[in-house]
């Protein structure tokens, strides 16, 4: 989206400035060490205040990390000026260490469980409970304003603690978290007087009813971002209407399914300045008059650039959105069951689209419409409507993928679930769109080859890594031999995240990746024939990575023990099944670097070696 792009540009400008500073600084050092230097020369070249000012403008945590490595002065200046800390693995560091290094934090982003926990591969009580962090924050960062959690466990008690410990608290974002109920949300609504953002997104919530929304006091007016699409039970509509009425700065509103079209219309009448809207159910029976009202209210909302929701969408009512669709840049139809013609009709009105998420009910024909109508498209995600139903054989195929690539040369992010694919199609796609940074292809039948030639899909992913030099994230699927991984190791020089399932022929595959991808940070593997030799070939590599996940592979407990012994700064965790022996296969292995040592909150099913 625009603002983040601008931010990136700004950051890169600043990075350039920094590079210059760095060079100057090292020159200064040389000057200082040489016998001819004198104090005045050093001081007049570079006052600390300037350096502090420049560093404080840095937003990217990676840039800040680089800055802090230059020298002790820079390290200190950086740590005192940092206000936002990003912790990609909550167990890689302890809250005490964070608090000690960064005294002035006002915003924290924390990620917890391994990504495969989203797919139920991680036991419930695995960990990543945020409470210990909150306790330290309450002591060290009483002015904390923002907390963004992903895949963490947070209890109602923690939410209450959060609500009452931080008087300045402004923004809470929970994505893919669990452990809490709507009671916790009620606590936030009740006590956080300065809340500007409440973003509850795709979590596992114990939904005890919608009363939490009514807990916002009548005097509360600061909310700018409200996303409760995930909290499905009915809320008190009057309370919501009053809330949106009095929060004049509200710019993001994503309601849940219980909100009808008529109610939506009333909400929008009060909030014409919204920039992001998530509708409720889009299928109520409307009288013509009501429909007109709906159309006119959308007509007034000239600033909406992001649209989502559209649960139970009735294609008949989509035209009401046309006034808004002309300036849409992000359209999330991933919960809207649309057929190809309905999508096609809508897309004619969405020429500015940059990001589109759809269900595969739109079929290849719908994707052809995408290619024809959305030349600026940068991101496409196609989700399966019936992933587990083998009877339903429709969906998208390689034809749709190719059609999009012809029409959308700027495409750089794709997530594509399909039931069949060919090497030729993928090769064509990346020829048309060589700028992929994220390529996630999921052929839903594990180990399925090119359905026309019956060959492995090696050629496809080979083409991806050879053509897309900027590739940072790759998810592979289909029938793949070690050749795919040879290609990845040889060509994917910018690859940071790799997800592999049901692929590969031997240890060699994984060894190629570990030896070859210099920027690899996250490697997650399931159901592949990689064993101890592969695991141990990455000994030196794992410390430069955030984490490694291997499940249902051929790694044994002894292999893991060896890894743990050789690399003391890695935590090697094995998730045991009951009744398995200690010397047998290690079914789930999670390896990550940590400066906090082994974690003390692991459940009994998790063994840290």
């Amino acid at each position: 989206m625009e603002s983040s792009k601008l931010k990136r540009e700004k950051d890169s400008q600043i990075s350039d400035e920094l590079n210059e500073l760095r060079m100057e600084s090292s020159e200064l050092k040389k000057a200082r060490d040489s016998p001819i230097s004198d104090e005045s020369y050093r001081r007049s070249s570079f006052p600390d205040e300037v350096l502090e000012r420049v560093i404080s403008l840095l937003n990217s945590h990676r840039d800040r990390s680089s800055v802090s490595l230059v020298c002790k002065d820079w390290y200190n200046m950086e740590r005192w000026s940092r206000t936002h800390v990003f912790i990609g693995n909550c167990y890689s560091v302890s809250p005490e260490i964070v608090a000690q290094r960064f005294p002035k934090i006002r915003s924290v982003t924390l990620k917890g469980k391994p990504r495969f926990s989203d797919f139920n591969l991680v036991p419930q009580n695995w960990g990543a409970d945020v409470h210990a962090w909150l306790v330290v924050f309450a002591a060290k960062y009483p002015f904390l304003e923002e907390l963004r959690l992903k895949r963490m466990t947070i209890s109602d008690a923690s939410l209450e603690f959060l609500a009452s410990s931080f008087p300045n608290f402004k923004a809470l974002s929970l994505l893919s978290c669990d452990g809490f109920s709507t009671n916790g949300l009620a606590a936030i609504a009740t006590h956080c007087k300065n809340l500007t953002e409440l973003d509850i997104h795709e979590n596992d919530i114990d939904d005890k009813g919608g009363g939490w929304l009514s807990c916002f006091p009548e005097s509360f007016t600061s909310l700018e971002v409200l996303n409760f699409a995930n909290v499905t039970s009915d809320i008190n509509f009057d309370a919501l209407e009053r809330l949106t009425g009095r929060c004049k700065s509200m710019r993001v509103l994503k309601v849940n399914r219980s909100i009808s079209l008529e109610q939506l219309q009333r909400l929008l009448a009060n909030a014409p300045h919204l920039t992001e809207l998530g509708t409720g159910s889009f299928s109520q029976e409307l009288t013509p008059h009501q429909y007109e009202d709906l159309e006119s209210v959308f007509n007034n909302c000239k600033n909406i650039h992001t649209l989502s929701g559209l649960w139970e969408v009735k294609g008949l009512y989509l035209p009401a959105l046309y006034p808004v669709s002309t300036h849409l840049t992000f359209l999330n139809l991933s919960y809207a069951v649309l057929q190809s013609d309905e999508l096609a009709k809508l897309l004619v009105h969405c020429p500015q689209l940059r990001r589109l998420w759809v269900l595969d009910t739109v079929d290849d024909k719908g994707l052809e419409a995408v290619g024809s109508n959305c030349p600026l498209l940068e991101e496409l995600r196609v989700f399966p409507a019936d992933p587990f139903d083998e009877e339903i054989v429709h969906g998208v195929t390689e034809a749709g993928f190719v059609a999009v690539s012809y029409g959308c040369p700027r495409l750089h992010y794709v997530l594509y679930f399909c039931r069949q694919m060919t090497n030729a199609a993928v090769t064509t796609v990346v020829q048309n769109c060589p700028n992929f940074t994220h390529f996630r292809l999921c052929i839903m039948t594990p180990g399925q080859p090119d359905y026309l030639t019956n060959e492995p899909m090696d050629e496809a992913f080979g083409a991806v890594v050879k053509t897309c030099r900027k590739l940072r994230r790759l998810s592979v699927s289909g029938y793949l031999t070690d050749l795919t991984f040879e290609h990845i190791g040889r060509y994917a020089k910018n690859l940071e995240t790799l997800s592999v399932a049901f692929a590969g022929s031997s240890d060699w595959g994984m060894q190629c990746v570990l030896a070859g991808c210099p920027k690899l940070r996250k490697l997650e593997i399931r159901d592949c024939p990689f064993g101890n030799a592969a695991l141990l070939s990455g000994l030196e590599k794992y410390e430069s990575m955030r984490s490694l996940w291997m499940s249902a592979c051929n790694v044994t407990m002894n292999g893991c023990r060896l890894l743990a012994r050789e690399m003391p700064r890695l935590n090697v965790e094995v998730m045991k099944e009951e009744g398995s022996d200690d010397d047998g296969r290690a079914d789930k292995v999670y390896v990550y670097r940590s400066i906090a040592g082994r974690r003390r909150d692991a459940p009994s099913s998790v063994l840290t070696l």
Binding site: P123, W311, V337, D389, E391, R419, G447, N454, D527, P529
Partner: protein, 375 residues
């Protein structure tokens, strides 16, 4: 019509595809079953999941069947009553292979039906559930390594609620395939913990999705966490399809998804009946979906608003067009669409099928009779 597969016997070859079972799947529905996940239904299977091709083809049927027999503890106790109920009426074939003694006599009788390759038993089950099969069991069972490790955790393997028969098939068939798989996978098959505990995992969501039969959920063995879709999403999509889990005999509010199949078409679709308010709307939507075929449909011929067919009109339709739209009602009977008022129709319709009118002629009188009774 050749007996439906489900390859109880085919499992020895790990289902990947013996040509002999090519397209065995023509079952009474006139649909070609496609099994992308592995059992050797059709030729399409050749291209699917090929990772265990060679070893498995060379294994003999017999051997596999032997392996399969009498694995102690292969069935969790809870299953047995279900098994018996389902199989009691269907055992009419002698077992082909001697059974090993098993703890429970009842258990063995159900094993009998499976082991003997009582395809009829299985096909009865299948027809009864109008579902195609739980077919993952076959060659892909080495996946269960991953799946099984979760069996102790709350999100356990997707074997939660199966009709016992198919469940048995899952378990029994899993063994030999896993044993073979282990040749390649190089790991011992752990005791497959296919216990049917209700799970919060993805499997549970399927029971929501399969809305064809209110009595039993789809038979679907599934790999845990695959395809990789967040549970929130699967839960959400399932609830919108979950309509036919009825409360007090009435479908809940929200979407009413039913599957639509068509004679000769390679695919099924799903439609939300709530998005239509007349037969004509439904008919034109279906026409678009299955666009190469014409639907001789009530409503599109009749006067607007006139939903009830007269006898003569029905005959006209049938003679006048190639296809008719039929539906399966709550009782499991197949009726011509258009008999009853729309509201009543969406409440009783479980599944739609576009049939060749020649196949549907038998339905007409019954439909008329039923509506006469109703009237």
């Amino acid at each position: 019509m050749s007996p439906p597969l489900l390859g109880v016997e085919e499992e020895g070859q790990s289902n990947i595809s013996s040509p002999s079972v090519d397209c065995i799947s023509q079952n009474g529905l006139g649909l070609k079953e496609r099994n992308y996940l592995g059992l050797s239904d059709c030729s399409s299977v050749d291209s699917s999941g090929v990772s265990l091709p060679e070893e498995n083809k060379s294994k003999l049927n017999l051997k596999a069947t032997e392996l399969r027999l009498g694995l102690p503890g292969s069935q969790s106790p809870e299953r047995e009553p279900e098994l018996c109920l389902l199989n009691s009426g269907k055992l009419d074939e002698k077992p082909l292979f001697p059974l090993l003694p098993s703890k429970d006599g009842i258990c063995s009788s159900s094993q009998k039906s499976v082991v003997s390759g009582n395809k009829r038993g299985f096909s009865d089950t299948m027809d009864g559930f109008s579902e195609v099969k739980g077919s993952v069991y076959g060659e892909k069972n080495w996946m269960f390594h991953g799946a099984n490790s979760d069996s102790e955790s709350p999100q356990a393997v997707g074997h939660g609620k199966y009709p016992g028969n198919s469940g048995v098939n899952v378990m029994l068939s899993a063994r030999p395939s896993v044993a073979q798989a282990s040749v390649k996978k190089d790991g011992p098959p752990n005791a497959l913990q296919e216990r049917p505990h209700a799970t919060t995992g993805t499997n549970l969501k399927q029971t929501g999705i399969s809305n064809n039969n209110s009595s039993a959920p789809a038979a679907k063995a599934q790999v845990v966490g695959w395809p990789p879709i967040r549970s929130f999403r699967t839960k959400t999509l399932a609830t919108s399809s979950k309509n036919n889990d009825e409360v007090d005999g009435k479908p809940g509010p929200g979407a009413l998804f039913v599957k639509v199949s068509m004679a000769g078409a390679p695919y099924l679709r799903k439609v939300d009946l709530r998005t239509y308010s007349t037969y004509r709307e439904l008919s034109s939507a279906l026409e678009k979906m299955f666009s190469c075929f014409t639907l001789g449909q009530c409503g599109s011929h009749g006067a607007p608003g006139k939903e009830i067919l007269s006898e003569s009109k029905l005959k006209d339709l049938l003679h006048g067009s190639e296809y008719v739209l039929t539906y399966e009602d709550k009782d499991g009977d197949w009726m011509l669409v258009g008999d009853v008022p729309w509201e009543m129709f969406i409440e009783t319709c479980k599944r739609l099928k576009i049939m060749k009118s020649s196949d549907a002629i038998g339905l007409a009188p019954r439909a008329m009779e039923k509506s006469k009774i109703v009237n």
